[in-house]
């Protein structure tokens, strides 16, 4: 308990010191003329009031909603496709070997270069962003499911077979739980990438969304807007990450974890 409080306090202090430094560096003539410095770094208060303004005027909700929608769609579609393909290929070693170089190649491609093509194919609406997020999420989930099915402990598998499980029962009691545990353990990464896909897509060409907001501000050298957008984006990702952690703790109760306090 004591330690928890202390930890929280120290964590808070880091933010206070960081923002405090930012404040003094941009409002006093410590590093040069404040006007010049503010052009490049804005000030914490300006950024704060910009965020307050966005929320009080309500303009931000539309952008947040769009980004959230794109992220969720990319995550859901990417996960489903990844799980299905992962299972399907993992149970067909020959096919997996045939496709192996292509899958590796597709995954090695930096996905940002696809964004213009998706915009061309799917327009500037949400679907080009969903597609970009999809290509990121899909491979993470796919590789994890593939791995999860392939790397079931041989003894656990042999034991399940000796207990008399049919192929279907093996799928239900052994392969799916094993693969799902891998999927869940990669939830943080895949959710993060879904957001990355959405924001990068918006940044490169869109009419709404957080990425669009930041890109617009950059276009007119509105550093305050850029920083405000980054903070909103960070809070957004942290919130989603928190939700994922809650879900994860519920679903992976069987896994060894760091010791949970008894109290």
């Amino acid at each position: 308990m004591q330690n928890q409080l202390l930890l929280r306090f120290l964590q808070l202090m880091v933010a206070v010191v960081g923002i405090g430094f930012w404040h003094f560096a941009t409002t006093t003539s410590l590093f040069g003329r404040p006007k010049d410095i503010q052009f490049f770094f804005s000030t914490p208060l300006d950024v704060f009031w910009r965020i307050v303004k966005w929320f009080s005027e309500g303009t931000i909700w539309h952008h947040l909603g769009i980004t959230l929608l794109e992220s969720v769609l990319a995550f859901v579609i990417g996960t489903i496709a990844g799980v299905v393909c992962g299972f399907w290929l993992a149970r067909r070693p020959l096919l997996a070997d045939v496709f192996d170089p292509y899958i590796k190649g597709a995954n090695a491609l930096p996905r940002v270069v696809l964004a213009p093509i998706f915009a061309l194919w799917l327009g500037l609406g949400i679907w080009s962003k969903v597609a970009l997020g999809f290509t990121l999420v899909f491979f993470i989930v796919f590789f994890n499911v593939f791995q999860g099915v392939r790397e079931v402990s041989q003894t656990v598998l042999a034991n399940a077979r000796m207990l008399g499980m049919t192929e279907r029962q093996l799928l239900r009691h052994v392969f799916i739980p094993s693969a799902l545990s891998w999927v869940f353990s990669s939830l943080h990464t895949s959710v993060g990438f879904a957001v990355v896909g959405a924001v990068v897509g918006e940044y490169l060409g869109a009419a709404a969304g957080l990425g669009y907001l930041i890109q617009q501000a950059e276009g007119v050298f509105d550093v305050t807007g850029v920083f405000a957008g980054m903070f909103v984006l960070t809070a957004f990702v942290l919130l989603i990450d928190g939700i994922v952690t809650v879900v994860e703790n519920r679903l992976l109760a069987w896994r060894p974890q760091t010791v949970q306090s008894a109290t």
Binding site: V156, A158, M162, G164, Q169, V174, P177
Partner: protein, 282 residues
């Protein structure tokens, strides 16, 4: 239960429960080389007979059990189960593996109950019987723990319950009491003997512990050190049954057998060690 066993027992009494006939196993290693682990081994286990297999580490005891379970196809020779040539898995056998084999995502009780559920028992009944079995192996209070929250010995006991709840006619046990302390070993050994006494299954029991082998088994079989290991000694144990393990170890006959087998085994154990040294040095 036991009457059903008696009925099938008479019909099957001519054919051994497990018959390994000229079994050799050669493993393929990396770079195309091979390793002949077990060579030309013959072993019969009659229905209802308790056979213990002892041998130096790495000689191929687990490999033999895997052949009897149908998990490994022998390179030459074959396994017969109640007279029928074994192709595929040996569904009449329950196998307690040397390594951890519980499903880590299921609790102890679910791990045991699933063995019944997959055969069509309702979940409620399966859970009830699983709980009873966990109680029998002394883990009644641990039924809702996941394997990672159990000790090595506790996991072995859950595994034992998982195997026995299906009531298989053949039991393959690979060092089931390996990670247990001496006292729990005694208790589990006595429990196993009592269960076996009530319902005689054919048992292939692998152990490192010669005393345990003699105390439990009808026959103790000794394997030579690999490569190309095979059975080099077969000793009937004519101690009276029912047995109490801690008491039977005090009998003079026990000591006589122990000395006899140990003399044969010692040479092989030493050979097994020196082989390890050579591998380590090379």
């Amino acid at each position: 239960m036991s009457s059903a066993m008696a009925a099938t027992g008479t019909a099957a009494s001519q054919a051994p429960a497990v018959e390994l006939d000229g079994v050799s196993i050669t493993f393929k290693l990396a770079k195309g080389s091979t390793y002949a682990a077990v060579a030309e081994t013959k072993l019969d286990v009659a229905a209802g007979e308790f056979v213990a297999i002892v041998g130096p580490t790495g000689c191929g005891k687990s490999t033999l059990l895997n052949v009897a379970a149908g998990l490994i196809k022998p390179s030459t020779g074959h396994a017969r189960i109640f007279g029928a040539r074994l192709a595929g898995l040996n569904i009449q056998a329950g196998y307690l593996f040397q390594q951890d084999s519980l499903m880590p995502w299921k609790t102890a009780i679910d791990n045991v109950a699933v063995a019944l559920e997959i055969a069509g028992t309702s979940r409620d009944e399966a859970l009830q019987r699983a709980q009873a079995w966990l109680g029998r192996v002394g883990l009644g209070a641990f039924s809702h723990r996941h394997p990672h929250m159990l000790s090595g010995g506790q996991r072995k006991r859950v595994g034992l319950a998982q195997v026995l709840i299906r009531n298989p006619r053949i039991l393959l046990m690979d060092e089931p009491f390996g990670p247990l302390d001496a006292q729990t070993r005694l208790i589990m050994g006595d429990l196993l003997l009592k269960l076996w006494q009530d319902d005689r299954k054919a048992v292939m029991f692998v152990t490192h512990d010669l005393e345990e082998a003699i105390a439990l088994a009808d026959r103790v079989v000794i394997m030579s050190a690999g490569p190309a290991a095979s059975i080099i000694g077969d000793y009937p144990i004519n101690l009276t049954r029912p047995r109490d393990i801690s008491e039977i170890k005090l009998e003079p006959e026990f000591h006589r057998i122990h000395r006899e087998i140990w003399t044969a085994l010692k040479a092989e154990v030493l050979k097994g060690y020196s082989q390890g040294d050579m591998v380590g040095a090379g």
